[in-house]
């Protein structure tokens, strides 16, 4: 028991540092790129242009219809046979960004559609172009609607980064696995990894609440 506690405490820093130097940065960077991508894809789908909207629809369909693990393998192990050899980190960021882009695009599209038509019209009647109306009037309102589902996407992403361990990114879970293999304490180390993921997600949920409150201040009290 004493040695288990000791191992737990000694493993805590390697695992936490795996979170700090890999899991969290990987999630943040992929989410930022994925969101930007998602906005573009959502606007393509809403553009009314058959080609753009068709491309967007196809992309979302492929991303949502294939496992993330397979997407990671295609980028990291598959592309080299086409002559594209990427390091683990860029591979992970590309795969995660594309994945977030597919899911978040649907969230953003729905959020934009949830803004009443009258808001567009009012924006147009004060002289705004479509782009300006989108940026100043519609997206801020869509943002509020999309915080809960996008928080879900982000929390899923944080946990999904554990898949990057199979393409050799030394993140939280890979640290735990390595210690487990050496110490033969699998249950302890995997529980410890789970605990750290859970703590990160608790913080994120709290952050979501703060953000929702901030964005809700203009809604009926």
């Amino acid at each position: 028991m004493q040695s288990s506690l000791d191992l737990f405490l000694r493993s805590l820093w390697p695992i936490a540092s795996g979170a700090l130097v890999a899991t969290i940065p990987l999630a943040l960077v992929s989410f930022a790129i994925g969101l930007a991508l998602a906005l573009v894809v959502a606007l393509m789908r809403l553009s009314g242009n058959a080609v753009l909207s068709g491309v967007a629809r196809f992309y979302v369909s492929v991303i949502r219809g294939t496992p993330l693990l397979v997407q990671l393998f295609i980028v990291f192990y598959g592309l080299p046979s086409l002559g594209v050899r990427l390091d683990p980190w860029p591979s992970a960021i590309i795969a995660f960004s594309l994945n977030v882009g597919g899911y978040a695009a649907e969230v953003i599209r729905a959020a934009i559609l949830s803004v009443p038509k009258g808001q567009w019209e009012a924006a147009h009647t004060i002289g705004m172009s479509r782009g300006l109306a989108l940026r100043r009037i519609v997206l801020p309102q869509a943002a509020r609607v999309s915080v809960p589902p996008l928080s879900n996407t982000f929390i899923s992403l944080v946990k999904d980064t554990s898949l990057a361990s199979v393409i050799l990114v030394t993140e939280l879970f890979r640290q735990a696995r390595q210690i487990a293999t050496v110490s033969n304490e699998f249950m302890l180390l995997y529980l410890e990894a789970a605990l750290v993921y859970w703590l990160i997600c608790l913080v994120l949920s709290a952050g979501q609440n703060v953000l929702e409150k901030r964005l809700d201040r203009h809604v009926a009290h």
Binding site: Q119, E121, A122, I126, G127, R136, H218
Partner: protein, 283 residues
């Protein structure tokens, strides 16, 4: 009120008195609009001169709101000619380029039945958004103008509130101020009091009457016949996509020539009145 209150009030009043000399702010000829197979407007004419207040009245489904929305391009007409103030006509029997639609849209501002204030912006930001972001006016100056205009409708102290914190009547007055701040040639009102509780209607109508007195050019879709009678320079009665009758309010609203107008007015003014000889069986 401060002098910055309405920098152009005098100018507009002059424009109103000198309206005979100036060209119309808007001229519409043979305007048609279809939604699919349904022809909602079937050749409507209208001319609005500077300082005039045109009241569009008619039963629901008559096409009056659609007509109003074609006047700023929110609905693109299926046919007919619309000539904005600059005198260069837009011929909707052919495809009309987007920049021409913008030319039409930018000369007017609109007040909506459902207010359509921007819920994520404060009252003040709602008003300054157009002047600052679209017209690129100086933010400080736009702010002063907005506060002065809000003061005129009794809402200066609510400048930092969000729309949701206001009553319907207050929201609509903000909607009017938002339109005024753009200093448009033409104000369009789409049933501005229809969504309000009866006791809040008066405040909004009072503001609109004041605007008319100051010489603003207005086209108003309304069921408030009393307002139309007292404020409008012309009443246009639309039914089934055509103008049935038009003229001075005292004529159209008091002594209409057309049976359809009479029927509509009787139903609206005095639903309990006994039917007259020209009333249809369903009246």
């Amino acid at each position: 009120m401060s002098p910055t209150d309405r920098p152009d009030a005098g100018d507009r009043a002059d424009g109103a008195t000198g309206a005979g000399g100036a060209g119309p702010v808007l001229r519409v000829r043979g305007l048609r609009k279809s939604f699919g197979d349904v022809e909602v407007l079937r050749g409507v004419d209208l001319e609005v001169r500077r300082g005039e207040v045109v009241a569009l009245v008619g039963p629901s489904g008559s096409g009056k709101t659609t007509f109003l929305r074609t006047l700023n391009g929110l609905e693109v007409p299926s046919g007919g000619v619309v000539t904005p103030r600059d005198g260069r006509p837009l011929d909707f029997d052919r495809p009309v380029p987007k920049r021409d639609l913008l030319r039409l849209r930018d000369q007017s501002a609109m007040v909506f039945q459902q207010f359509n204030l921007f819920p994520h912006l404060t009252v003040l930001q709602n008003v300054t958004e157009g002047p600052v972001r679209v017209q690129r006016r100086d933010p400080a100056e736009a702010r002063e103008q907005a506060l002065a205009l809000l003061g005129r409708v009794g809402l200066r102290d609510r400048a930092d509130a969000y729309p949701v914190e206001l009553s319907g009547g207050q929201q609509q007055r903000v909607g009017i101020v938002r339109a005024l701040a753009l200093e448009p040639d033409l104000l369009l009102f789409d049933e501005p009091t229809s969504a309000l509780d009866p006791e809040l209607v008066g405040d909004v109508l009072a503001v609109m009457r004041q605007l008319a007195d100051e010489g603003w050019t207005m086209v108003v879709v309304t069921h408030e016949l009393d307002f139309a009678r007292r404020v409008a320079s012309e009443v246009v009665f639309l039914d089934d996509g055509v103008v049935v009758e038009r003229g001075r309010p005292e004529d159209v609203l008091t002594d209409p020539r057309e049976p359809r107008t009479r029927r509509f007015l009787r139903r609206l003014l005095d639903p309990l009145d006994e039917p007259g000889p020209e009333a249809a069986p369903d009246a």
